[in-house]
Symmetry: C2
Amino acid sequence: MSNIQALPLLEPAPGEAVVPCCPPLTERPFTAEEAETAARMFKALGDPVRLRLFSAVASHEGGEACVCDISDVGVSQPTVSHHLKKLKEAGLLTSERRGTWVYYRVEPSVLAAMGRLLTGVVPTV
Amino acid sequence: MSNIQALPLLEPAPGEAVVPCCPPLTERPFTAEEAETAARMFKALGDPVRLRLFSAVASHEGGEACVCDISDVGVSQPTVSHHLKKLKEAGLLTSERRGTWVYYRVEPSVLAAMGRLLTGVVPTV
């Protein structure tokens, strides 16, 4: 077992993103807790429809989109909403209601942290 | 629908890695085919035990390990072998038999491509 201290996990407040926890995969074996946290994020992207929706939000103008903008993936709007909720629960999206619609936004710090976990490189964006 | 041509997918030969397919998530909405390919890799990392084994291989001396090196995650050796097989099928690990043992190695190009997909940055390792 490693005696390196895991970085503290920040419990997300409702509507807030999870702050990822983990060192690069190549640095040392993950602890069980680190693996739980990181696997939740990877699992959220491990569904093709969810990944299409996520890239639709991520690539939408201004880095945000409402359900009305991204219903072009061949599934019903309730299914779209269900998947967006899953992405939000995993800390990959944040949301904000404005009038009739809920707008979803990609959490860039989470993508950067996942990228670092995979490659060991901190992207400078 | 986008008229941008997807990069060709290379079908993996037995024992070879999948070459990832996809542009950065923020560039444009993924096509169904791109999402299928990328989701398969994310799904492979979306299980805590599998992710621990993967980081155990990735962080092992020389970037490779056999089952005998990484059985310290609290599951049986057949379960370890099962998860390693899944990671291999997803193109994240390659394997090579040497004598009694099969050695697994992380495919750095796949990690780099997944990192680029998430962050838009090509890591220079």
